[in-house]
């Protein structure tokens, strides 16, 4: 067996690179559109990162503009902008990851205990609904619930004889609201993964525990949760890898350019979008973007390292 494989591998070596290229031409052609695609839309923009190191001049273009070194970064760091953007992005993501997984696990476990098939099916379908809609509609839904003049919440407050609530001019409430909205939109989707993992548990183990007199709490505590542990750990680690990347659509469609709320709601993505699309300040936008990419890359590497330690099967590379 080993002899045979040795022969095969020396066979490959003897063939030149060109011959190998020709031999697998069909498979290469099959990959070609994707290779071109990622070259055009992901690799071609990379040299443009240079714009972060210049004082961008529209007429002179990225590479003709004046080189200013790290000045764009220094300005962002000194003004405290970089810190507050990073803080907001990371804290929101931490809340999304921890609460998101917690709620998803709870819903999946409860759904598994429910026996009524029809109830299960209908509720799962309804829970999936928020995942299918665009972030634009999410923004509109939130607005129609919370706005001052016609919002549903204020209607109820007025009906109860209470004072109206003005969340759109109160930055302090948005961390709670945005986390809640995120949970609302993602829990149906996230719980499916855990629900599938629970369904994968050997039914005999659970039945055996029942026979041995384990009650529902004990079955959840000693069988279901431990079996979910690897899935939970891996999903959390992967999510942590993206901790400096924000959910732009969610924040932009809910907050938009309402600068009163920026203090607690401005994340890296929304800042970069405004800098690019409203201020045309490409150098600042790119400086923040490059900083985000570098930090994000380092964190993914760390997360992957951790996953590899826990279970090499799940590591990315």
């Amino acid at each position: 067996m080993s002899n045979k494989s040795k022969k095969a591998s020396t066979g490959v070596k003897k063939r030149g690179v060109l011959e190998t290229l020709w031999r697998y031409r069909v498979l290469e052609l099959m990959c070609l559109p994707a290779i071109v695609f990622f070259f055009m839309f992901s690799y071609m923009p990379m040299p443009g990162i240079w714009v972060a190191f210049v004082k961008y001049n529209y007429r002179k273009g990225i590479f003709g503009s004046k080189f200013v070194g790290l000045q764009n970064f220094e300005f962002l760091a000194e003004s405290g902008k970089l810190f507050s953007l990073t803080r907001n992005t990371v804290l929101y993501n931490l809340a999304f990851i921890i609460l998101g997984n917690l709620v998803a696990v709870i819903i999946a476990i409860l759904l598994n205990e429910i026996r009524a098939k029809m109830f299960k099916k209908v509720s799962q379908t309804l829970m999936f609904l928020p995942y299918f809609i665009s972030q634009v509609l999410v923004g509109l839904l939130v607005y129609s619930l919370l706005n001052y003049d016609t919002g549903f919440v204020n209607e109820i407050l007025v009906a109860l004889g209470k004072a109206k609530w003005q969340p759109y001019s109160d930055p302090s409430v948005w961390p709670w609201l945005i986390v809640l909205i995120h949970l609302w939109q993602q829990t149906g989707y996230n719980s499916v993964v855990y629900f599938a993992a629970i369904c994968g548990i050997d039914a005999e183990i659970i039945e055996a525990a029942k026979v041995d007199g384990a009650n529902a709490f004990q079955r959840i505590r000693y069988i279901i949760l431990p079996s979910l542990r690897p899935t939970i750990v891996i999903l959390i680690l992967f999510a942590l890898g993206g901790i400096v990347r924000g959910n732009f659509g969610l924040f932009w469609n809910i907050i938009g350019s309402n600068s009163v709320l920026y203090e607690t709601t401005d994340i890296i993505e929304t800042f970069v979008y405004r800098a690019t699309m409203s201020d045309f300040n490409f150098s600042t936008a790119s400086a923040v973007g490059f900083y985000q990419s570098l930090v994000g890359f380092a964190i993914v590497m760390l997360a992957n390292f951790a996953v590899k330690k826990i279970d090499p099967d799940y590591s990315l590379f």
Partner: protein, 308 residues
């Protein structure tokens, strides 16, 4: 045989002794799941209810769960302007072309990358995967698309970037991996080329994968507003549905940004019911379709969620 009997016995046994804890857990389950399910539907009912309510009633009483002073005026306004059908057509065309092309490319790439005898599979996989680890960021992307590729105000700027993603290619690769390698081998023995094997042997076997990934792509196109917000300016009159909704929802911003906006008075700002009617029309097809397609999504999530 004896084992089967045992399981049956246990199953029936477990039915008898449902303890207090079971009732607590199940009761909590029914209550919490019901509450969450209601919360998921509730905002949609407000949108629908308000879209059929008269504007004057909304002004004085706010948005409505059930239509009050029932009227179709908002829908007449939205449909009457005529542009909504063009938006529908554009969105459908973009979704169809993008999904079919994307699906074909993703399937081909996924097949080639899971072939264990393909010597470049690791290099190409890394080349694709790297783009999700490190990106140039928005500003360089925007400058490249508008200045080098000259795609400002072009529908291509919406169609092309959504066609594939590293994640979808990996998902497809993992799906195809589950097909035994012997299928490819048997095709080779019969003298078939790689393309023939892919089209006649592999494609028919990965229908569920095509459905799942096709749906992810189609959903991406249907819900697209982001690329449009970057690249379609006021010069383009017909825009994808969700971006049309986006513009109406953010009309004030849109007016401020467009040159013409300086001469538009505040009365032109769309009213609540019109916003809602637009939302219903833009989202309706997805909401009506998704109960039938959700099983493919669930299949996709469970295959692709964890394994990278």
């Amino acid at each position: 045989m004896a084992k089967n009997k045992e399981i049956e016995f246990e199953a029936s046994n477990s039915k008898i002794k449902l303890g207090t804890s079971d009732y607590i857990v199940r009761g909590t389950g029914y209550v919490l799941v019901t509450l969450y399910a209601i919360a998921c539907v509730f905002p949609f009912l407000i949108i629908i209810g308000t879209s059929f309510t008269s504007e004057s009633y909304i002004r004085t009483h706010g948005v409505q769960l059930f239509p009050r002073e029932f009227t179709l005026k908002a829908y007449e306004m939205v449909i009457g302007s005529g542009n909504i059908w063009k938006s529908y057509l554009l969105t459908i065309v973009l979704t169809l072309i993008g999904t079919v092309c994307g699906l074909l490319i993703i399937a081909m790439t996924g097949y080639a990358l899971q072939r264990k005898d393909f010597p470049f599979r690791n290099a190409i996989s890394f080349y694709i995967y790297f783009t999700s680890l490190f990106s140039a960021g928005l500003a360089p992307y925007y400058l490249l698309m508008t200045q080098t590729y000259k795609l400002l105000d072009s529908y291509l700027a919406v169609l092309l970037p959504l066609m594939m993603s590293p994640w979808l290619i990996i998902l497809m690769k993992n799906f195809i991996k589950q097909i035994p390698h012997e299928i490819t081998e048997s095709g080779k023995i019969d003298g078939a080329g790689d393309m023939t094997i892919f089209v006649y042997l592999i494609l028919p076997m990965i229908k569920p994968a095509l459905a799942t990934i096709g749906l992810f792509l189609a959903l991406g196109y249907w819900n697209e507003w982001y690329q449009s917000s970057l690249f379609l300016t006021a010069k383009v009159t017909v825009k994808p549905l969700q971006y049309t909704l986006y513009e109406i929802v953010n009309k004030l911003d849109a007016l401020r940004n467009s040159v013409a906006g300086q001469y538009v008075t505040l009365t032109d700002i769309p009213e609540q019911s019109v916003k809602m009617a637009n939302a219903v029309l833009a989202t309706g097809p997805i909401v009506l379709l998704y109960p039938f397609v959700q099983k493919y999504f669930i299949g996709g999530i469970t295959v692709g969620a964890v394994k990278g």
